[in-house]
Symmetry: C2
Subunit: 144 residues, 2 copies
């Protein structure tokens, strides 16, 4: 059983500005102006939506190759609905995170709709990000 460890390091370098280091890549996160930030990048919940979209696209590519499907174009739009009250410390019955995440998949490929439905079913089943969102994932946070 092959286990892979992925590592990320992130630093608070402004009010809400975060510099993230992932292997050789550097990404900047921030909050938009209406949430009090300097808008130097996407915020963490937007990153969750991008991770989910990217995962469908990449697993989609892998499964299409396996099934011999040629992809001409492939795009995903994502919407996530969230009540920021808990995040902001206001009294609420709502959860802190997204209540629901909806993805719309636009694909142009040399396959009929029934084949693409079967393809999408396999993609969803094998998508790591969807697994981590839909099912319980242990997250341990410790003070150094």
């Amino acid at each position: 059983m092959a286990e892979v460890k992925f590592r990320v390091s992130a630093n608070l370098i402004g009010k809400f500005t975060v510099e993230g280091k992932i292997r050789k890549h550097t990404l900047t996160l921030d909050e938009p102006a209406d949430l009090g930030g300097d808008d130097k990048g996407p915020n963490p919940v937007e990153l969750i939506l991008l991770a989910q979209a990217g995962c469908i696209l990449m697993v989609g590519r892998v499964v299409a190759m396996e099934m011999g499907i040629t992809i001409n174009s492939f795009k995903v739009d994502v919407v996530g609905v969230l009540n920021p009250e808990k995040f902001m410390g206001k009294p609420t019955e709502d959860r802190a995170g997204f209540k629901e995440i909806t993805l719309k998949v636009y694909i142009d490929a040399d396959a009929d709709r029934d084949t693409l439905k079967k393809w999408l079913e396999i993609v969803e089943e094998r998508c790591p990000v969807k697994d981590n969102l839909v099912n319980h994932t242990p997250v341990k946070v410790e003070l150094a």
Copy 2:
């Protein structure tokens, strides 16, 4: 009850290269070379780790301001353990996503350790990304 919709759009522009659009921001995702990609950016599971780190940093800032704690430096390291077999379509008993995500929080602030432990407890409770990972989040994927 205030609900906010967050939107992201992502396009497959190479073998595994993804261009993500989040408001005015453009991010590139990819797989590293050893997973068959062109390594033009982080991959979706690394993005999950960065989202979790960024969320602790930003909620950490908010809660510190509320508690009157001055932060001198604040960094988070994250490790996620994953078996890529399911993603790759190999037979496995393992889940597709991270089995476990561990964060180590390095903070230098004008507060004693007990206060920082209480602070971190509140931060974890109010962190949207942790909520979405630890608890079930509905993800709907539909073919356009």
